[in-house]
């Protein structure tokens, strides 16, 4: 009982003591492992238990989109440049990557909205909610990966040895998504506009990222696509799996560096902003 920790709450910004803040952030990160795993198990169980198709739902969005665009491409409604691998395989593969990105953006926003009551009443390590989502995105990716293996075998696609590095690039993509969600989530508690706008934003980015079409090489559109940071991460993942010959990884490295810095800032923002968001929305 003598080891009781004293916590002090004041009106001052925690940024006034940056070292203490950072130390607290990392110690919270370490101490919330058990909670994170509990939340992860809860979310996964709850998600798939009340459905007949269960884990198939992780794969279906990618499959349906792939089917739509393959049919559109065949009937020449929309035509794309030739892809390195058969188009259906290309779209399924890319859609899986894209879906993973979308889940990472939505994850934090969704989990904060779902846990509103809990957040309003109990003071716990809120980071756990986010990390649980991060892991859930990975879990759902593994299910999709099983489908990808089947697709690759069916189309007889050979993977390059660099595939073992692909998880690093995928982590960057997930982190990029999580950081966007992390920035938005406290505000999404305050304003519904965030979640309304998010789906439009995501749809827009789907069409400026080479997901359902290969990366364009010429024209204004190519410039837009090239300026989109997500492009480089998606491309990097694809190239690492299929063969990175002649691919310039520099933009990917830049994006990754920026992502890592921003993740920290987003985490800091999240931490500082949550008490204010909670104060305003609940009683």
């Amino acid at each position: 009982m003598n080891t009781m920790e004293e916590v002090v709450y004041t009106s001052k910004s925690e940024l006034k003591h940056p070292l203490k803040l950072i130390r607290n952030m990392f110690s919270d990160l370490l101490s919330c492992r058990d909670l994170t795993m509990s939340l992860l198990m809860r979310d996964i169980n709850a998600k798939y238990r009340q459905s007949v198709l269960g884990y198939l739902w992780a794969c279906l969005p990618a499959l349906v989109t792939a089917l739509t665009f393959t049919l559109a491409n065949r009937s020449k409604t929309i035509t794309f440049e030739a892809t390195d691998i058969p188009y259906p395989a290309f779209v399924i593969f890319s859609m899986v990557i894209w879906q993973t990105f979308v889940e990472s953006i939505n994850g934090p926003v969704q989990t904060i909205a779902d846990s509103k009551v809990m957040l309003a009443k109990i003071n716990f390590k809120r980071e756990a909610l986010i990390i649980a989502k991060f892991l859930e995105v990975w879990f759902s990716f593994f299910i999709k990966a099983i489908m990808l293996v089947a697709v690759f075998i069916y189309f007889n696609i050979h993977v390059h040895w660099t595939i073992i590095l692909a998880p690093i690039a995928l982590s960057m993509l997930i982190l990029l998504g999580i950081l966007i969600g992390l920035f938005l989530s406290p505000f999404s508690l305050l304003y519904k506009d965030i979640s309304y706008g998010l789906s439009i934003f995501i749809n827009f980015f789907l069409f400026v990222t080479p997901v359902i079409f290969p990366k364009p090489t010429t024209g204004t559109f190519a410039t837009i696509v090239n300026w989109n940071p997500i492009t480089h991460v998606v491309e990097a993942i694809r190239k690492l799996v299929l063969g990175p010959e002649g691919f310039d990884f520099t933009p990917f490295f830049v994006t990754s560096g920026v992502t890592l810095c921003l993740v920290f800032i987003a985490w800091l923002t999240f931490r500082l902003a949550m008490p204010f968001a909670i104060e305003r929305v609940t009683s």
Partner: protein, 399 residues
Amino acid sequence: MNKKFCDDLRRSLLYGVKDIGREIVGAGRKSDRLRKSEFWALHDISFSISQGQSVGLIGSNGAGKSTLLRIISGLIKPDAGTVKVKGRVAPLIALGAGFNPILTGRENVFVNMAILGLKKEEIKKKFDEVIDFSELEHALDMPVQTYSSGMAARLGFSCAIFTHPEILLIDEVLAVGDLRFRAKCYRKLAELKKLNTTFIMVSHSPQSILSICDVGMYLKKGQLMGFGATTDIMNQYEADLSKLDLRLVNSADGKPKEKYSNFKIEKIFFEDAEHAEVVYPSTGRPGNLTVSVESDKEYDNLNIQIAISDASLYGERTLFFNNAIDDFTISVKKGFNRISLRFPYLGLNPGLYTLKVSIYQDELHLLDTIEAFNFVVKSDFPARQSLFFQSREWLVSQK
């Protein structure tokens, strides 16, 4: 310590964003000043509680009790001043917050206790105790959505109480579950108290505060009105409440009030068996509830309806009287009249009640109404264990 709130939603959200902005850039929030539409939810509150003390927080709705608990638990930041908390705080505030309806009771226990800050090993160790206390062994592997609200509350309470925190914040939660389980909860709290757990408890029920807490704290509109021995604070609170009574009743001539007719309810009061006016009616004692009216003319078929609700819990209606149902005809003459309801003994338990009285002519035409007359019932013997007072005699006979 201060805390302010905003009563305008749009503005409140905007302030929220601004506050976040200032917090992130590390600028001062100038939080000690009120902006437009803001008010102090807590103002100049200062107190200290030592380990093992149990504090009863009393005050009417909106006095700032829950806000104070939320600040102590670190959920929201104060706007001025400092709060120092030593020890692990567990809220007994939202029982079962975070329960997922799809998952089984067992799974939810693990998640819930993890949220309350326990490690997996600790939960495993305490699991049996928790289930034992909640008396839900049979329903453990059923999804929580099949539980009744009482069962869910029982599970939530058990999870929270077995985290064995140093400081326990209790917000009106003991009103859940059936009476027997509630009694069990009180016993558990008494046990924890012996283990030197600090309590801060919000309750509208004077009896539960008196039985558990050593120290009382009375909040009124965000101000700390009193801090001291529970009985003193309770007396102060009740004295304030009875002042409130008079004001409400007298509002007929003071404040502008909707006028239905020239017929006026002038006063409502209690009398003891000797027809002397009393401020606090007593449980189990005979007396009258009297409504004094000023009539503009003669009425020979008045209908009077009296509804009494428990103001401490969820406003549950406790009693309802209607002279028409009782087949009693009321007629009044011009001028002052007294209509009394005589009870051989008062069945109400000690506590705070709200009374609404409406008087109709021919059961249709509303003559006058008093929306809320608050009164406190006291008791000179322990009545807490019963739901209402049962008049009784003990007899022993040999066959």
